[in-house]
Amino acid sequence: MAKMLMKGNEAIAEAAIRAGCRLFFGYPITPQTELSEYMAKNMPKCGGLSLQAESEIAAINMVLGAASTGARVITSSSSPGISLKSEGISYIIGSDLPCVIVNVQRGGPGLGGIQPAQSDYNQATKALGHGDGHIIVLAPDSVQEMAALTAEAFDLADIYRMPCMIFADGALGQMMEPVDFEAVPVRELPAKDWACTGTGGKRVHNIINSLYMEPEALEKTVVERFERYKKLAENETKYEEFMLDDAEYAVVAYGITARIAKTAVINARRKGIKAGLFRPITLYPFPEKPLNRLADGVKKFLSVEMNMGQMLNDVKVAVECKKPVIHFGRTGGVIPTPEEVLEQLEKLAGGAE
């Protein structure tokens, strides 16, 4: 089909509908608003529901309820709203429920600002809610990829029975680019025999629960979940490599920042600097192994983010001190320029070993 010019926020909403999701629960917040509005307009047209909840907290618990019935369900918000959802997300993790959560990030902490940021990296990948658990975190870098990864997010959530986050930012959400909702690869999905849709008199009752009074019993569920995370890392880790074959300096960046870094890498090559780009697409699971292999070839890593250095630590862990890892970032809603990243690369290339 012909490409459509769409905002990233709208592309996520459209992709969700095309993925068979018929339930959206949200609460207004800038800069994700177009997503809610698109759902409000288009869900009723396909027999779906877009419901504005009384709070972010209520919205994520409506997600919990709908997910408990096995339905595909999505919610979206921006940074402060995601913090409010974190309690519910922890329960959803603990109850092994699939759902898709969108974070169109803005600057923080606190009310912060409304301009694009990536400062929720640690929250998303390390601690979205209390307890020992994870969610899948996907970081698209274009409107096209926002659509593709949204489709994939529903499958991953269903297969691994865990929440999957589309980790975007205000720029990706607000920008328009051509998008093609191409045929999504069909994956085999497990039956949702755990869903609460009434016993139908045919089985014992299902229980959706995250409470275990015996520590051994709780430990068992957590350990089992981490076995699943291991499989997830083995099978679903995604990344892009760009001009890395002979690179001496590897920029590591995700999302909108990766596009900026790509321009910087191209410009660096023109100046004779052997730069390349490593772009993690899954932030959880983080592509540790390929980064570690990359460390054998390059001289230095430059981790670029719109924060004060959060992924930086994951890169360092992955690289295992084989090579230096330097951070460059802008924060508070400031988008770095390709020139600034190039300047950092020039410094790396020109500086002492």
Partner: protein, 177 residues
């Protein structure tokens, strides 16, 4: 390769003008991106829009060093004129801007777009008049191609806007400054 920044007051049609440049680029199989400024400034304050039209995949969607600046008010010209790349282009509305661009290393083209729009009875289409002048001065798109495009740009609910947009485009294109 064109990195274009359009800037002015909210309500002047900055975002619409940017979107038309992008949609036309799509028809030419170019890589394109459109990024608006967003937030409270959308409601009455200053408004700007970053547009990229390129043969190569687009890196940063944010235009910080424009090849082309379209300025529709004085604050925008003051804020962004200094960021235009040397050899770049500034198209601005002299009806609302009473100062010069103030650089001799860029091509500055002033047009009284708002005045022309008012005279022609199409008061809200100064933005399209500026686009007409832009393509004449830069050759960003061929006249007939873009005229056809802008004519087809009206929403289904208001088809009469297509002809008005075409009229505005021709006024801009035909302006002899």
């Amino acid at each position: 390769m064109s990195a274009i920044l359009l800037a002015g007051f909210g309500g002047q049609g900055i975002l619409f003008a940017g979107k038309q440049l992008v949609l036309a680029g799509m028809k030419k199989d170019k890589q394109v991106s459109w990024l608006p400024s967003y937030g409270p400034e959308m409601r009455g304050g200053t408004c700007n829009c970053s547009v990229n039209i390129d043969d190569e995949p687009i890196g940063s969607p944010l235009v910080t060093a424009p090849d082309i600046l379209i300025a529709m008010n004085k604050p925008s010209l003051l804020k962004f004129a200094g960021r235009v790349v040397p050899g770049g282009t500034v198209v601005y509305d002299t009806s609302l801007i009473d100062i010069a661009v103030g650089r001799d290393d860029v091509n500055a083209y002033g047009i009284p777009a708002t005045g022309l729009a008012n005279d022609a009875g199409i008061a809200k289409l100064a933005n399209v008049i500026l686009l007409g002048y832009l393509i004449k001065k830069t050759g960003l798109y061929e006249k007939d191609f873009f005229l056809e495009h802008i004519r087809g740009s009206a929403p289904k609910s208001k088809p009469e806007l297509g002809e008005l947009n075409a009229k505005a485009l021709l006024i801009g294109y035909g302006y002899e400054g």
